[in-house]
């Protein structure tokens, strides 16, 4: 489902050339539960952004859901993000002026085709399931970090994605809530067969993933 071949990502900080990703080769199959591990600044987030089509590689080939990404237009890539990928960020990245419910159904507003479900109903169902139903009409700054992260997870699920990418999903919440979030992600993988990729530097979180990919100094390595 995810295939990276010789992917490089280079950018410049002023005069300095930074190689965030070097010759990355990777293959993740449908239904896998993968952890991307590495110290901070190792390039693991860059790797996730490239997999999630949030960023473009400097060179190399990416094949996602059977499509050669370099051949796709920006609109097609946006549409792939919309339909097939769900993101969970360390900073939650909810839109503050919208309520929990409005945040959750926002991806559905950008769908360019007729949806086979009612986003409102689906959102309410998911909110119930994730225990934040009562918070549907609250704004993100009125609920706890754990509840915000659940909201973000529900948002990532609204479009029935094939792939969930989580970037340090427990980084900004306490350990107990973090465990709950991890259980949620595990459950998604087990029950629905959603491919889950988690970027983390926390050993506890890494422990729970089935397959581990190590990144060090921009390179994918067998072990740290």
């Amino acid at each position: 489902m995810i295939k990276l071949q010789n992917v490089y990502k280079t950018y410049y900080l002023g005069e300095e050339k930074v190689e965030a990703l070097k010759k990355a080769n990777l293959n993740i199959k449908k239904g896998e539960y993968v952890g991307i591990l590495g110290p901070s600044g190792s390039g693991k987030s860059t790797l996730m952004h490239i997999i999630g089509l949030l960023d473009k590689p400097s060179s190399g080939k990416i094949n996602l859901f059977g499509k050669d990404i370099s051949r796709l237009s920006d609109d097609a890539i946006s549409s792939l993000r919309n339909q097939k990928v769900g993101f969970v960020f360390q900073q939650f990245n909810l839109i503050e002026k919208f309520t929990v419910l409005e945040n959750i159904i926002l991806p559905a507003q950008y769908a360019k085709y007729e949806l086979d479900f009612d986003p409102q109903k689906r959102a309410m169902k998911l909110l119930k399931r994730f225990g934040i139903y009562e918070r549907a009409n609250f704004h993100p700054n009125e609920i706890s970090g754990g509840q915000q992260q659940r909201t973000a997870i529900v948002r990532s699920l609204i479009m029935k994605p094939d792939l969930i990418l989580a970037d340090e999903p427990t980084g900004n919440i306490d350990t107990k809530t973090g465990d709950e979030i991890m259980e949620l992600l595990e459950g998604l993988n087990k029950e629905f067969g959603v491919t889950v990729v988690i970027v983390t530097h926390e050993p506890d979180v890494a422990e729970r993933t089935k397959r581990k990919i190590y990144v060090k100094d921009g390179e994918i390595v067998t072990r740290l």
Binding site: L54, D75, S78, R81, F87, F89, N93, L106, P107
Partner: protein, 396 residues
């Protein structure tokens, strides 16, 4: 449609959070639209006003004037001329059989004094036919008779506003004595209000009475020729030209119908209107730049939001549409507000001055303000959509 509503809801949500900023941004457009619409309304008002003045003169009027007049277009030198019209010309015009009335018109500004009050006004020297041609009758007292005109009578008739200014009540004017040029005249009547500044502000007397210290050269400013039969206007006009051409060079005088004068006035006002609209448009552009400025700030402030929207699947087009919708709504709102305020002003001022809104002004205002929204919104919107999602999300 659902998408359209979604974008508009998005914008309104944002306006609610930034009420002051929204209002200030629209204010620029509002003032721009207000000035364009009001300037057009004023132009129309002026035109109506002048037209009204013309209509007060009796219809079927031919004016003979020294100089090339209005015919060769309107230029500053039109009224300066070597020739002066006099009684000989009046007599030769009288020989035209279809010319029902021939009125010599002497016209001069003067300071008029009565009972210790001094007022600025005009002196008009005419004959008794003048009242027929101008469709003017007496409000109080009587108008001048033929014998008064022929007998160089010192009786005069006052225009309504002059009588009003000199005496607390125009009806009190009859029987009073007025003075100017060291001569005394007796007021025998007041003409009804005509809406013509000159006539309403004049002392009207026999043209023969002006001979002497007031009009030593015995010349006239113009000669009015009234024609009863509308079909005969053209032929009278030609005959008048012929008659005068025997004495003067063709370029030294002009014979024009009221319609032609109106046309010239229209031409002038179309030009004036154009200039006014151009001036108003400058403020519209300034308002547009204000919107652009706000939208740029908006885009910068909301870069992270843009990134989040992109991450969950918004295309560049979606982001463009979002910011364009906002700027169009902002300027459209300003435009409608400007229009409403203009309408209010027009309603308030209309009783005093015939200004008016026209369809063209309304369409122009709404159209231009929307266009400005699109034009000045495109640049910030393009910037908003050009970042990669991750660049935008990380922007602080």
């Amino acid at each position: 449609m659902r998408y359209f509503i979604f974008q508009i809801k998005n914008s309104i949500e944002d306006f609610k959070r930034n009420k002051t900023r929204t209002l200030l941004a629209s204010l620029g457009i509002m003032i721009g639209v207000l000035s364009v619409v009001m300037l057009i309304a004023l132009g129309i008002g002026l035109k109506n006003y002048i037209k009204g003045q013309f209509e007060n003169m009796g219809t079927n009027l031919i004016m003979v004037m020294p100089g090339s007049g209005f015919e060769s277009g309107f230029n500053a030198g039109a009224f300066t001329s070597s020739i002066s019209l006099d009684e000989r010309d009046v007599n030769s015009l009288r020989r035209i059989s279809d010319a029902t009335y021939v009125v010599p018109v002497f016209f001069k500004s003067a300071v008029i004094e009565s009972e210790g009050e001094e007022e600025f006004g005009y002196v008009m020297g005419i004959n008794e036919e003048f009242f027929e041609v101008m469709n003017a009758s007496a409000e109080y007292g009587s108008i001048l008779t033929k014998s008064e005109v022929q007998g160089r009578s010192k009786n005069v008739v006052l225009g309504y506003s002059l009588a009003d200014k000199l005496y607390s009540d125009p009806s009190l004017a009859v029987g009073k004595t007025i003075r100017f040029n060291n001569q005394r005249f007796k007021v025998i009547g007041v003409i009804e209000k005509k809406g013509d500044n000159e006539l309403d502000g004049s002392v009207v007397m026999s043209y023969r009475t002006t001979y002497g210290s007031i009009n030593p050269d015995k010349t006239f400013w113009s000669i009015y020729v009234g024609v009863n039969d509308e079909d005969k206007i053209e032929s009278v006009k030609l005959q008048a030209e012929e008659a005068l051409a025997r004495r003067y060079d063709k370029d030294d005088f002009s014979v024009s119908e009221q319609d032609e004068l109106l046309e010239v006035v229209n031409q002038i006002f179309n030009m004036v209107n154009g200039v006014l609209i151009a001036i108003g448009s400058i403020s519209l552009v300034v308002g547009g730049i204000g919107i652009m400025n706000i939208m740029y700030a908006n885009v910068t402030e909301r870069t992270k939001e843009i990134g989040i929207r992109r991450a969950i699947g918004a295309t560049r087009g979606d982001i463009m549409a979002q910011f364009l919708t906002e700027s169009v709504l902002l300027s459209g709102f300003g435009g409608v507000m400007g229009l409403l305020v203009s309408a209010l002003i027009v309603v308030l001022v209309h009783p005093y001055f015939p200004i008016a809104l026209n369809f063209f002004a309304v369409v122009l205002a709404i159209g231009i303000s929307t266009l400005i929204g699109v034009f000045f919104g495109v640049f910030p919107a393009r910037r908003a959509s050009s970042l990669t999602p991750i660049e935008a999300i990380r922007y602080e």
